[in-house]
Amino acid sequence: MSKRRFAFPYLIWMTIFIVVPLFLIFFYAFTDNASGKTLFTLEHVKAIFQPLYLKVIGRSFYMSLIATLVCFVMGYPAAMILASKDFSQKNTMLILIVLPMWMNFLLRTYSWLSLLENEGLINRFLVSIGLGQVQLMYNNFAVILGMVYNFLPFMILPIYSVLVKIDKSVVEAAKDLGANGARVFLRIIFPLSMPGVVSGITMTFMPALSTFVISRLLSGGKITLIGNIIEQQFTITGDWGLGSALSLLLMVLIFISMIFINKYGDESVGAGGLL
């Protein structure tokens, strides 16, 4: 029946639109065309290590790490509650938490604008109770909030799917042997949930690290992350070499995190989510 040649059109498509573009990133990251000739160069890769860009990379890591940490602290209890046996309407709640994963993050980020801006709802509320206006936007807080908001479901889902699979008899055995609640959690539940935690952390950290929309909209362009630099290189500056080198950096990080997930993570929670 299905013959191997059925895949030929896709193989051609895949080569042109997936393999060649990847090759082009490497090509532009490592060549220079300034003198009319295409020459191998490490200049673009070196450029990443200029203080200016190192600062941006550092800031991206710092903000993504904080966002990931907040997601973890907020998400782990949520995953535990969802996974607990006595929680009713579990499936509905789960779908409600997962649905935003598939929704346009641009819209979700934009939705915070009307809450955070100076004449926004939160500030109007603060003024009306006599606390006065607070600058909520155009700062690190707003960008981190945007990241947490966008990527929280990516933390909850993998942890949840590991927690529900934990064998209840192990927990019971620990209790029978005299462990209290905290001890059961620290010695049994938490270590067993590590694969989900690893997946959750990577699935939150990587998109936070590569975003340019959240920082652009919620900081009004004041805070620059790796994604913003890449965007500028391709839309304004036209320095494809630097843009490609930075894209390559993101790809290397994705690659490392994939190895990490494959080794320690829960592989069943790929990019797919619950759908």
Binding site: M1, S2, K3, R4, A7, P9, Y10, W13, M14, I16, F17, I18, P21, L22, L24, I25, M74, A78, I81, L82, S84, D86, F87, M93, I97, L99, P100, W102, M103, N104, L106, L107, R108, Y110, S111, W112, L113, S114, L115, E117, G120, Y149, L152, S161, S210, F212, L217, G227, I230, F234, L250, I254, E267, S268, G270, A271, G272, G273, L274, L275
Partner: protein, 281 residues
């Protein structure tokens, strides 16, 4: 007490996730342009939406691209999945890994790499380049949806059809395709949703010559909040929500029919790996 606290916590998380979107939608019905003051229900912004030629053409672009891209991706992906089944293990693994690249790569990297490709092969940025990009990131999802269905395929019907004199292609259409249909439809719906939803890849592959709804939202949102964007957002949100619910409902009901095997994207990857391992033995 403990139960109540648990419920309260989940409620707070859901409030955090949905409150901004609900506020956004509510304010799209606000009569006043000032977004913080509520001046009564009105459909002004929706009316303005449907007289704004820029937004209308973006609406057309969004759905035209989504329709063509998802149809092409579905055909391309379905045949690709069928062909992949007959590949040797090593080739299969390679093709599968490459197929996953657009799924796993950050959108910005996919976007800029395709932008460079179009410059490299001399395709002008615009509608066509955007369409090609959308087909590229949709096809992997079709393949991921169809592959597991191929493992469950009953081949004897196809052989019987041929024994009874059906030409190979006719037999394929009458016996194989119907069995694959649930996977194909899921792949199509996913492609359509992802295409309507996409911003980053479209942003880099249109060069500002064509705009979809997300791009309109982005360029307007840069200048601050505007009730008209709230209206566009509300429409986009509702569209995507409905599409997602359809996909989910299909998955859930097919789960009921085949209760033994949860057929979600979550499990598909596992099924593929398991199948290939058995194949290798």
């Amino acid at each position: 007490m403990k139960k109540l606290l648990k419920k309260l916590y989940i409620f707070l998380i859901l409030l955090f996730l949905y409150a901004p979107i609900i506020v956004l939608i509510v304010y799209s019905f606000n009569a006043s342009k000032s977004r913080a003051v509520w001046q009564g229900f009105s459909l002004t912004w929706y009316q303005q939406l449907f007289t704004d030629s820029k937004i209308l053409s973006a609406l057309e672009t969004t759905f035209l691209i989504a329709l063509i891209a998802s149809v092409v991706a579905t055909v391309l992906g379905t045949f690709a999945a069928m062909g992949m089944m007959k590949m040797k293990k090593k080739t299969f693994e390679t093709v599968r890994t490459i197929t996953y690249i657009p799924v796993l790569n950050p959108d910005i990297v996919t976007g800029v790499s395709l932008m460079m490709l179009f410059a490299f092969i001399g395709i002008e940025l615009g509608f066509v380049s955007m369409l090609l990009a959308h087909i590229t990131f949709c096809t992997p999802y079709v393949i991921i949806s169809v592959l597991p269905k191929l493992y469950q395929l009953d081949m004897s019907v196809y052989e019987a059809a041929q024994d009874l004199g059906a030409k190979p292609f006719y037999a394929l259409r009458k016996t194989i395709i119907p069995q694959l249909m649930p996977g194909i439809v899921t792949g199509f719906l996913l492609s359509f949703t992802l295409s309507v939803d996409d911003f980053v890849i479209s942003y880099f592959t249109t060069g500002g010559h064509v705009e979809n709804l997300s791009m309109i939202v982005f360029s307007m949102a840069r200048k601050g909040v505007n009730p008209k964007i709230n209206a566009v957002s509300a429409l986009l949100f509702v569209t995507v929500m409905i599409l997602l619910l359809i996909v989910n409902k299909r998955e859930l009901s097919s789960k009921k029919h085949a209760a033994k095997n949860k057929d979600t994207l979550l499990n598909r990857e596992k099924q593929i790996i398991k199948y290939r391992r058995n194949e290798g033995k």
